[in-house]
């Protein structure tokens, strides 16, 4: 990773008075997987659309540094884009659609066809190349859409919610694909609300909420935000005993339904004493430490952010 591929300088976008993105500043570095994270409506897709050039920011600017001289727009032939509202022509043979998208991104027809066949073979879809898209299963349609975004070997791949709607096997397939792309030198910007998947591939993340930056940094740095708060995985014999846990003074948060719970202790709480107390009060089946999760970081950051806003407005 060396240097920035693109930088956003204080970009904002409003739609009919609603703030979709507010003064966002970040940079995407060459060769990294950069993730925009946040719940639905956080402003991820708006930010992505501003980066791609589909909508213009009301304020701020986007600087593309990848080709030496700075530009204010990504070059279509160097950028691959998988939109959240993805779609392809349902009634047209798959290969023909892919060649068309390859040509739009600067390839000549023959080269686009050759590469499309290579990708289809990799996705085990080569024998379906002359089928209509709507003849494929949803998962396979997503594979074809991925090919359409990556066919021209972009230097930057922008993937908006790439894992949504996929079954677990397909999610693993696409996680591997993202890793392969990064290993091949492609810079990847992805947006997602599926934090457990993102933290497995992303190098750095930007957490958004209500269009604002909540947190940013590398995965390691964000995990560090939870330091001082021990986390445990606890399996109860009776799910009804969860209330006992929640009532304990050392417990900050209990997540999960049923007998399997994730317990976060308050900063400064001493784990051995807590466990000793716990086993005398509640019958347990299993107990262990829990690795920090991006999900927890995000929840904590959003709560802090909303508390700060509430304090400011009151």
């Amino acid at each position: 990773m060396d240097g920035a591929f693109l930088r956003a300088h204080g970009v904002s976008k409003r739609f009919s008075g609603h703030v979709a993105a507010e003064r966002l500043s970040f940079e995407v570095r060459r060769g990294e997987v950069f993730a925009l994270l946040g719940p639905n409506g956080a402003g991820k897709t708006t930010t992505v659309r501003m980066l791609v050039g589909i909508i213009r920011p009301d304020e701020g600017r986007i600087e593309v540094l990848a080709e030496g001289a700075a530009r204010d727009r990504l070059r279509p032939d160097r950028t691959g884009y998988l939109p959240e509202d993805r779609g392809l022509y349902q009634e047209i043979p798959i290969l023909r659609s892919l060649v068309y998208f390859g040509r739009l991104r600067g390839l000549d027809g023959r080269e686009a066809g050759r590469r499309a066949c290579g990708w289809l073979e990799r996705m085990s879809l080569l024998d379906r190349k002359n089928d209509r898209l709507d003849a494929l299963s949803k998962g396979n349609q997503q594979r074809v859409q991925f090919i359409g975004a990556l066919l021209h070997r972009p230097a930057l791949a922008i993937l908006d919610e790439p894992f949504s709607g996929l079954d677990p096997l397909s999610q693993e397939f696409f996680l591997d694909l993202v890793r392969d792309l990064r290993n091949a030198g492609t810079t990847i910007l992805l947006s997602s609300h599926q934090m457990d998947l993102v933290e497995r591939v992303a190098d750095r993340v930007l957490l958004l909420n209500h269009g604002r930056e909540v947190l940013s940094g590398s995965i390691g740095e964000l995990h560090g935000r939870l330091d001082g708060r021990p986390r445990l995985r606890v399996t109860l014999e009776r799910a009804a005993d969860a209330g006992v846990l929640r009532a304990d003074d050392d417990v900050e948060d209990v997540a999960g339904d049923g007998p399997d719970l994730r317990v976060t202790l308050r900063a400064g709480a001493r784990t051995p004493q807590f466990l000793a107390r716990l086993v005398t009060r509640v019958p347990l089946t299993a107990i262990g430490t829990d690795a920090p999760r991006l999900h927890d970081v995000f929840i904590r950051a959003v709560r802090d952010d909303e508390a700060r806003i509430a304090g400011r407005t009151s």
Binding site: R56, P76, Y81, D85, R105
Partner: protein, 394 residues
């Protein structure tokens, strides 16, 4: 990647998507079939029914030289000619009653009745004149046809015959058909693409202006292929009509200048309407539920107005219609067929139409740029006007 290349790729894609060569060939084959049946029927009818043979019972008549009728005297033993009629030797048996009226005995409805009536009318008139004691020379002079030589004060008016008016009507028809073919494809190409969520992928690769210009060009080419096919089909039908019923090709419509003008105006008119409908389609999420569906009938307005050109191609309103860009594409070629608009009028009309196409494409690009990501809610007319004129953009 250049704008021109993007437009070309888009246009080629739309063309390939909507032009089905197999369907075009099938429609051409249907035209050939219909024309063949028509011409064949005329040939058969001509071979078997051109000359009508009539048995004359007790009267004397001379058959005209055109061979339409053949008169044969009824046999002695068949004085009314009924036997020959029954045997099918003749199509009718003609006799004359005592009061001078003729009586035609037939087995089926005589389609030649009016032609025979004209002939008999002539015979009776001649008998009456002879009975009045007029000499053969005087009689010949009386019966000689009067020559009427028609000359027009304005020679171009000579072109306003039936076949020229048909040709002018075809100009309107061609334009209207082309617009509606293109309209159907545009709605599928733009609204359908929005529904399929393809648009965002495409506009991330090329500019919205290239997108809309490519669509407009590709769909215009699609409509031109369909209309070209239709014109070839109509030419085949016209050839059959010429063979079957003596239809005369309108010479005024076949002049190279008229054909060239018709082609240019059809292309430009289509581009104008397609750009307009592309802008409308860009703001529509579902054409079946959109309140803008009524706009789809807008192309009928210039067609209805153009009927004024058919009535009087030199009236001031016809001249205005030939200049106004939304109506000039059917009106000017019609004036060219039926009148003589002159180079200045053609030049002004062409310049206005070209300018209108350019402005409409730019506006459509702006409206599309802002409206294409809008799903569900349709923008209002003031919003669309603001988009079209807004320099700030998305």
């Amino acid at each position: 990647m250049s704008y021109a290349r993007d437009v070309y790729i888009l246009a080629q894609w739309e063309f390939g998507r909507f032009v089905k060569w197999k369907d075009q060939l099938i429609s051409l084959a249907l035209f050939l079939l219909v024309s063949g049946v028509w011409a064949g029927a005329a040939l058969v009818a001509g071979a078997s029914g051109r000359t009508v043979t009539i048995a004359l019972a007790g009267i004397e008549l001379h058959a005209p030289a055109d061979g339409r009728f053949q008169f044969v005297p009824a046999a002695r033993d068949d004085r009314q000619g009924t036997g020959a009629l029954r045997r099918g030797d003749v199509q009718g048996a003609l006799s004359r009653r005592a009061d001078g009226a003729f009586e035609l005995l037939v087995t089926k409805d005589p389609r030649y009745r009016s032609e025979l009536a004209v002939l008999l009318d002539e015979v009776v008139r001649r008998e009456r004149l002879e009975a009045s004691g007029v000499s053969p020379q005087t009689l010949q002079r009386i019966l000689a046809p009067v020559a009427v030589d028609v000359r027009f004060t304005n020679p171009v008016r000579e072109r306003q015959g039936r076949s020229e008016k048909i040709a002018a009507g075809v100009c309107i028809g061609v334009m209207l058909i082309a617009v509606f073919i293109a309209l159907a494809n545009l709605l599928t190409g733009i609204t359908g693409e929005k529904q399929l969520r393809v648009t965002e992928s495409v506009v991330s690769a090329i500019s919205p202006q290239a997108w809309i210009d490519g669509k407009v060009c590709g769909i215009t080419a699609t409509a031109l292929v369909s209309v070209g096919n239709l014109i070839v089909g109509m030419a085949i039908i016209a050839a059959a009509a010429q063979f079957a019923s003596g239809f005369a090709w309108p010479a005024a419509a076949l002049r190279p200048g008229v054909i060239l003008t018709l082609v240019v105006y059809t292309v430009l008119g289509l581009l104008l309407w397609n750009a307009f409908f592309a802008a409308v389609a860009a703001t529509v999420s579902d054409v079946y539920t959109s309140s803008r569906s009524s706009l789809l009938f807008l192309p009928l307005v210039p067609v209805v107005l153009s009927i004024a050109v058919l009535r009087d191609p030199d009236a001031p309103v016809a001249r205005i219609l030939a200049l106004f860009p939304l109506t000039s594409s059917p009106a000017l070629p019609m004036r060219l067929v039926l009148s003589d608009p002159g180079l200045v009028e053609v030049g002004c009309s062409l310049a206005l139409l070209l300018g209108a196409v350019w402005v409409m494409c730019l506006m459509a690009g702006r409206i599309f740029e802002l409206g294409i990501l809008m799903y569900g809610k349709e923008p209002t007319l003031p919003e669309m006007i603001r988009w079209a004129t807004d320099r700030q953009g998305r």
